[in-house]
Amino acid sequence: MKSLAELQAIKEKMKNKVVLREGTGDYRVVVGMATCGIAAGARPVLNTLVEEVNNSGLADKITVSQTGCIGICQYEPVVEVFEAGKEKVTYVKMDADKAKRVVEEHLKGGKVVAEYTISAQKV
């Protein structure tokens, strides 16, 4: 090791890989992954979310996790977004493309993608 810059480079490269273990973040994104969710296609949604969050360098701010059946099986795949001090946002009938848009607009831009939420479905 000849310089601090080299050390810093390794740290940057590794940080994304261990940040998962700190479990803190502004957003907690939870994907319903029970049998109903998986059957409806939750797996590509989860993987897209993880990938997009990592690629945009937000891994330290956003935790992507999974949960069991939320109870609204007809709306699967379901993605819930929790933010401290705010009401939970529930996205329904998700797919990989919709997941990308949620990362882009909601998690990065701070603007809820209203048309995918459960309240939009009921109307």
Binding site: S3, L4, L7, I10, M14, V18, R21, G23, M33, A34
Partner: protein, 600 residues
């Protein structure tokens, strides 16, 4: 893309309860479920809750599974990792985390009282990173302190920061680390050495092993910093051969650090050279004494030598040497990065920072805990330790191993730091904390530690070699019911003589368990010699088992289970025990369905 990490403890405790098989099962099941691209399995160091091992933590949720077996793995993978349903029955929770469970439905590691009450500085990476991966250490600010020291600070600056932090030696003596370095730095020599004492020998203490196993790079980094501060280019780690996992991981850490140029020549282009070597100890307790340790590194028989000259002047190979304990070193990188004030803000007036304790004995959460200095013994035992099992009463805590004393229940609100423990005739020691309940005999406990020191005395000086043996003989006499009241006075006299006249720390502290128990539990000694009884019912020669004729139904179960045939009686009639034949094994008490057998 990896979305979840499965952390499996690979410390000695969990390894012995099968964590290697669990690791293998996880890899197989994850592969079988097609999750290999999404879930990563990481072997880490000790999490601290050894009583509940093997321990598995799943991130990002932080779900904390305890007592996992290979058979449980399939369920965890299929339910939790695949479907996101936490396997409730394996999740550890304690009383304090019940509320969290209700609110969030998942108790994460950090929500448990056991972890929440801790302040992990020394153990910060243990159970978090893979100790065999230097990159993970670097991701957690590893080697940043060494970089800072070599590029921005002078050796004097480093010593000043360590001195200002108030860090004191964690091996037991509590000597200020900064002062030790400052005494060594100015001594001119063609070579100086940094030595790490990893010869952890106190029965029940295993914090040094956990640091070596869980975060070995931390030690490598700290020793290089110490080398820079005192002007040494070589370091030795003296570690017990009984710690094979620790030795293997430390060796890998040294090799990886060399490859990255973090050990070797011209580190960070600063012109500073430093290299490290491991020396294995054969397990002699006396080699934890600094002069004996250095004699052993030199290849000679591990015997202490008189001081002065102190190692700061004439240490390893006759050169100025700084010797510190593993836990002491493990504090150094954080002190450099976060500053002396940060470290000094934790703890009490004269004992700064945190201390790692190895909880053992009659306590629910056997394991490792790191808490700020000045935490009360009550908080350690009742909250973090989860209390005494089976509803028994707390009697005393033994600290400092064979060199230490005990804290009786009446002093449970003592704030644990160097000076408070010394004030009550106890000693911090390396941090072994053995909890004893009401069924423990204090004379027997003192005898246990004396047996240890008699075995481990190196034999060089007479007070220790002969004195400890005589102490043990008197204790043995007392526990057999042959002692007299004069024996107690002789015991005390001999203790003080050994303390004052022994050559090294081993002999000087060997009488401590006797003196401390005499101070707080003299009545128990008196009961042994005057009343010829053992109040706790431990000393076999002083207890007698009897059968309560009113409660005995004559079921014959005790007679059938007695290994020596000491119990007789007709069916459906009260039985009796022949005291001359009875070997006091207690098998009858365990087997009696009516609670008719008692000991006194």
């Amino acid at each position: 893309m990896i979305r979840a990490h499965v952390l499996i403890c690979g410390g000695t405790g969990c390894t012995s309860s099968g964590s290697q098989d669990i690791q293998k099962a996880f890899r197989e099941n994850i592969e079988a479920c097609g999750l290999a691209e999404e879930v990563k399995v990481v072997q880490t160091g000790c999490f601290g809750l050894c009583a509940l091992g093997p321990v598995v933590i799943v991130y990002p949720d932080g779900t904390f599974y305890s007592r996992v077996t290979s058979d449980d793995v399939k369920e965890i993978v299929e339910e939790h990792l695949l479907k996101g349903r936490i396997v409730e029955r394996l999740v550890y929770s304690d009383t304090g985390s019940e509320k969290v469970k209700e609110e969030i439905g998942n108790v994460a590691l950090n929500d448990t009282v056991f972890y929440k009450s801790q302040n992990r500085v020394v153990l910060r990476n243990c159970g978090v990173i893979n100790p065999e991966n230097i990159d993970e250490y670097i991701a957690m600010d590893g080697y940043a302190a060494l970089g800072k020291v070599l590029t921005e600070m002078t050796p004097e600056d480093v010593i000043k920061v360590v001195t200002d932090s108030g860090l004191r030696g964690r091996g037991g003596g509590g000597f200020p680390t900064g002062r030790k370095w400052a005494l060594t730095a100015p001594n001119k020599a063609d070579q100086k050495y940094v030595v790490c004492n990893a010869d952890e020998g106190d029965p029940g203490a295993f914090m040094d092993r956990s640091v070596l196993e869980g975060d070995p790079h931390c030690l490598v980094e700290a020793m290089a910093i110490a080398g820079y501060a005192i002007g040494a280019t070589e370091g030795y780690v003296y570690v017990r051969a009984e710690y094979p996992i620790a030795v293997k991981r430390l060796q890998k850490a040294i090799d990886d650090a060399r490859e990255y140029g973090l050990l070797g020549k011209d580190i960070f282009s600063s012109g500073f050279d430093f290299d490290l070597h491991i020396r294995l100890g054969a397990g002699a307790f006396v080699c934890g004494e600094e002069t004996a340790l250095m004699t052993s590194i030199e290849g000679n028989r591990g015997e202490p030598r008189p001081r002065p000259p102190y190692p700061a002047v004439k240490g390893l190979y006759g050169k100025p040497t700084v010797e510190n304990n593993v836990e002491t070193f493990a504090n150094i990188p954080q002190i450099i990065l976060r500053g002396a004030d940060w470290f000094a803000s934790m703890g009490t007036e004269r004992s700064k920072g945190t201390k790692v304790f190895a909880l053992g004995g009659n306590i629910n959460n056997t394991g490792l805990v790191e808490i700020p200095m000045g935490t009360t013994l009550r908080h350690i035992i009742e909250d973090i330790g989860g209390g005494i099992p089976n509803g028994k009463k707390f009697k005393a805590a033994q600290t400092g191993g064979p060199s230490g004393g005990c804290i009786p229940a009446s002093l449970i609100d003592t704030e644990v730091d160097y000076d408070n423990l010394t004030a009550i005739g106890c000693m911090m020691g390396s941090g072994g904390l053995i909890v004893m309940d009401e069924d423990s005999c204090m004379v027997d406990m003192a005898k246990f530690f004396l047996e240890f020191t008699v075995d481990e005395s190196c034999g060089k000086c007479t007070p220790c070699r002969v004195g400890t043996k005589r102490l043990l003989e008197i204790l043995d006499k007392i526990t057999k019911g042959n002692g007299t009241i004069e024996d107690i006075d002789r015991l005390e006299q001999l203790c003080n003589y050994i303390k004052q006249n022994s050559l090294c720390g081993l002999g000087q502290t060997a009488p401590n368990p006797v003196l401390a128990t005499l101070k707080f539990f003299r009545d128990e000694y008196v009961a042994h010699v005057v009343d010829k009884t053992c109040p706790a019912g431990v000393c076999k020669d002083l207890v007698a088992y009897s059968i309560d004729a009113d409660k005995c139904k004559g079921c014959t179960k005790c007679a059938r289970n007695c290994p020596v045939g000491a119990i007789s009686g007709a069916i459906k009639n009260p039985h009796t025990i022949d005291q001359n034949v009875c070997i006091k094994c207690g098998a009858c008490v365990e087997n009696c369905p009516f609670g008719a057998i008692y000991k006194k």
